[in-house]
Amino acid sequence: MAEVHVIGQIIGATGFSESSLFCKWGVHIGGAWKLLSGVREGQTQVDTPQLGSMAYWSHPIDLHFATKGLQGWPRLHLQVWSQDIFGRCQLSGYGFLHIPSSPGAHSLDCVTWRPLGGWREQLARAFVGGGPQLLHGDVVYCGADRYRLHTAAGGTVHLELALILRNFSRYGIEC
């Protein structure tokens, strides 16, 4: 019966080597959770920064959950994509973060990574674009044994989320 309201935005990204970036995002919740209102996933516009290197999206996130348990606290998974001059899109980073569990405004940074692939793939990526992508996207937020995955660092995605929690104290949960 507890409610979690997440209101905020994906501000932008820094530190990516590519310039025209956009971000696909989604929220993954556990079985105890129920999305009352808002959209679960979305995609930002493509931002090409003219000044500085930060890409600004200012993409609104407005989610309202009801929950009967704490497990499966909502987590945000992000995919940062870049668009080249030909309008082709390629992946430049996967990222993931938990939605904070304390009420109030939070400014969050989400670092990203991308799979490296074999040397051929790296070469192809450098010259013709494209790149290795995860076959199963849920790896991003699932704790599969990732130790064998070789990745390269992407940039950082910045978010601002404000949280309103309700009725948690009724069930003995201090926030």
Binding site: S37, L70, C89, L91, G131, P132, L135, H136
Partner: protein, 1333 residues
Amino acid sequence: MEPQERFIMKKISKRREDMKKKIVQVEKSSTKEPVDIKIQQVTKQEVLPDEGLTFFIMGGEECSDFQGLNQTKDQRLKNDGYEKHAALSNLQNFMDMDDEKITEKVIFPDLLEITCSEYEDDQIRIEKEQEYIFVPSSSPVINRDKLPKNMIPRILEDEGFYIKKKPEAYKRTCNKMENRLLILEEGKCWFEESGEIISLPSPIKQSWNFRKLITVETLNPGLKTIYKKAIKSDIESCFRSKIEGQREMCQLDLNVSMLQFSHHPLFNQEQVLCSRLLQLYECFQNRQQQNIPHLLYEKLKALTKVASDNLKINQLTKKSLQDYNWQISNTKQLYDLEQKKNMSLLHSMLKTWKQIKVLRQRQGFISTPIKLQFQRLKMNIVDEQEELTKVSETETKSKGEDCKNGEKQEDLSYLTSQFEETEFERIKQPTLIPHLSLTAEVTNLYKCSLHEQRRRARVQKLKYFIKIFYNDKQVSCTSASPLQLDFKVMFQQIFNIQLINWPETIRLEVYEISKRTSILAKIYLPIPSNTALKSKAVLEQAEFSCDKLAVPACGEVGSNVPFLLDVTGKEELCLLTSGKLSYSLSWALDKNGIPLTPMSQSLSSVCHSMLRNVDARGVPGIPWLINTQKLFQWADEVRIDPNDPDYSDLMEFIMYTRHKGQAIPKYFRLEQLQEEFNFVSEEEIKKNKRFQLLQLRNAGQLDVSVLQQMPLYDREIPDLVFQEYESQIEKDIQISDVNSITSQRIHSINFMKKIRKLVMKKIVKVNKFNLSDVVTDYEEIVSASQLKHAICQLVERRRNLKPQRRERKKVAAQTIGDGDIHLLVRILRAYNIPSRKPALSRSPGHDYSFSNLSKIKDNIYVNIFDETVIEKHEDHCLKGCSGHSYIRKNWLGSVIFPFSALLQQPKISGTFQVNIPPLLLGYTWSKTYVSPKEDYNGQNLKECTFLNIFATIEPQISSVISNTESDKFTDEPDITLLQRAQIFRKDCEAIFPNRRIITTVFNDEGANILVTRYIRALNPPKQLLDLFLSDSNATLDIIARFVSLIPCLPDTLNENDGFDIWMSPEHCINLTIGNKEEHAILLCNYFLYFGKKAWVLLGTSTLEGQVAYVLTQETDEYLLWNPLTGQSHKQFDPFCPLQSADCLFDNENVWFNIQHNSTPMSVHFDNSRESSWKQLLPKNIQIQWMKSETAQPKEILYFDTNKSMVEDLKNRIERTLKCKLMEWRPKQPTRWNRQCTAILRQILPKLELGTGSLVSIEDESEFERLLQFYWVSGFPIQLPYTDLQSITNAVYQTGIHSSEFPQTEFALAVYIHAYPNNILSIWIYLASLVRHQ
């Protein structure tokens, strides 16, 4: 610094040269020893001060030494630096000494000692090194040395332990390692019990402390990455493919099994004969299976038996007897013929077999395993013979008896019987049953002749493969398979072809690989019927042949080349390469067992298949393999080879899912211990009103006005909020307890809604947003006129009383709040209202009411009532004290216009005909009739009532401007045509923005097609055609009526966002629902069936807004048909509600009206005139394009409406209406007059077809009797059947229940006239009776 340095170096080198010269000199003068010594002495003296120089020289030597020692580079560099440094420090000395050196050059040679370079012999060096370096030998080590003493090597693998494969290493390396370890003191611990070096992790150890091999197999499939090319994301196409994927996930399974040649260029003569024998045998077997002789025999038997039986009883007339005889002899003949055929077949088989045998003997080898054996069947023959003789006996007997009757026939019949008997004798031959087997031994290769050997070798070299073409595009290709010696090619491959397009052709091309690859034959496979599913598939055979010339080389016969068969000698043959392909082609089943067949095209199943499609596709995005369990099961059953690359995807998927499932063994547990930590149950969350409300709001199903803010607590939320939503759900569900016709209606309405929604979704999705849709430029704030107006206002003098005409401002619908809209309806006057029969002397008063307009779909009703007031004086009351007055309203008729009509046009004003029921009880038409203003030519207007109405909305609401750009999305091949149509539409709209034009619409699959595709002659129900065989006009009327009885889907403006979605007419008929345009199309198609010239006319009507009419060309005039009412208007009918005729189309073209005036009266409907009608397609295009016209089926099959269901529905309606009437009169008792009801029931059926004399005299007389006691007023209502609610509404409209007269009695009769396809015309006769005082 540097130039200086270089300078110094130069100097040094110069001096060295000098010194060398000196040395040479010295050596030359070596005889002068005393001098030498002297000089040496001198130099020695000199050396002391000149230390720097020596050092310098020494440094140089050192340097070269270092180089010789091959030191590392940086060391050298360092040294160089040092050298330089040294040189610099010595620089000064050098300078000082310069003078002296020149004078004492002679002394220098003593400074230098020249020695040869040092050299150490390799051998010695190696020997020296040997002392320090250990090189293990690479010779193998004996096990004894490696293991502790007296230990036998233990090999675990031999003992049955599982030992993982060891990493590979060269034997030499291993040996070296072993040797090295043996030398080491503690080296022995590196050996395992088998004597090998330990190279595997200990199986007992928990964690591995070595790097795991990362190969593709071991990588967790969940972590697998895939390289994706950077592709420009085409959102549009991606959507399209997705949609299509959803729409038609069809799959054909093609199993190419085997190729069997019946003739091949490499056949030798024996094989030619063999294939001939095989053919004969096959033919024989087929005949055997059909067993015609036997059937004929049975027939003969039966016939003779009947004949003889009848004869015995002497029942036969002469004629029938003759008939029997004739039949018997006929059957006999047929039987003989069949027998003969069988015999000849057997003969030829025997002959061929003999030829084969001869040939085999002659050539001395056997190259085919064929063998033919004959079996004699004697028993059967005897039996049959007996039977036959018996038959003939009876026949003769019958003939004999027959002779008694007709003497003349005697001779003849006798002869025939005799003849037959002889025939039987002739057949008395033993039957041979051939048995063909492939058991003969083929002679071994080396025993054959050289020719044969070569031939066989050539056969084996040949390979074949088959390319598969789907709709003329290559889809796949089999692997090349070799030709076997028995001229079979085994393929045994199954191809799954996933389809998007409807299959037109499936072609297989057989290719031959010898030296070159060449095409052999093309085989077209028939497309399997929808019922041919994979489970049922059996192998079919397709024959092919090829006329390629193949010249025989050695022993073979070639192809398309004449050759002589040796055995027969004379026979010259010319055979073509031919063969049979065994294949099976079927539709695949998906994991749920639903066949993946494309939407069936057959008419009868259109409805069902569409429904299924909607339901199945209602759930979008079902992942490919949803039922993993089933998949596992299947994988286990089939035991697919995990290494087979064909299955790699599948295996990967299985591995992935298994891997995912590893942590969760058998039971499904998403989050462990979830239950324990839950603080509330699922139900509580579900029940929570606040959450429900939030979800409803999110789904957009909640009226925003109800609650501006979500209440925080449940207690603040009224239950009322959910009621509307819940009732809506109930409506969807509650269809179980109704009549089948009703349920069909509800189904079809829901179905249409779904279809429309789906199509809309598809269109809208595909319709890409333009930048202008998302980003709007700043709005133009002031238009010039507005500005002028504002300025003028300032200047203008104030004259308050001067009336001014003001433009009505259009207001966007969004800006209007509650209560802002007013609907203004003004009834100006009415003409020719039926007058009450002179029973009571009050003149009719008018009362106008219009009903609710809460929703935009509603119609506006203008009902005409006759209001009567009766003053009733109660007897016991004091006179004058109080007059009780009762009001009674009698419904006379109504004008209905939909609200959308008001939205589509600024105002509705004009004179309209009132729908007056055909038989108004208690009313007559006035004899002195005042004609309305408009001139009228002809036609009796005596029985028409007209109403002059003005209606408008205040403020005027601007309707949604639908300038949707749908040109992007086109599926159809004739894309240029569509573009053309779009351009045409835009051009037309530019000329006359107010006129309607539709050139392309979306069909039920969301594809954009031309409107002309809908038009094609369709057959009306036969029942209707039979009704008025002679009167063609009446037939047309009844057909128009039939169409008008199809319930109309109320279409509103914003529902479709300007997209027109039209179902095809046959859907319209099958679903018994359609919108205005579909009605018009259907009617037009029916008219075309009669060979009439008919067009669909789009336009606007004053009363109905946008309408579609049908225009037909009569001999001298044009008729306008309103498909919704079934009425026809002449072109010059002033009361035709059509206001503007904008656009015409038929199956060939679309015409747009470019005449100045578009009212039907002033329009020339001759569309061949290009000055008045702009046409979409020029004439020459029409012809080519018409041929590819296949949008509709040729014939509609109609089914009869179930009579019992109609009866049931009738009773239901009657019951409901009675209940409702009583319900609506809560205060007064409702009495039913049975007598009147009975009369009404008799009248009603006549009304449907009746045109002129409505009430017969009998009814009249009965009424007369009734009228003596009652004042009767009543009216019939006619309406198409949609649902009960609409009927009760219609009855409620009439207000018959509101009569306040005491002792009013009511009569109600319902009649349903059933047309085919559940299309019903409902008649309700309502009457109220008041007893005369």
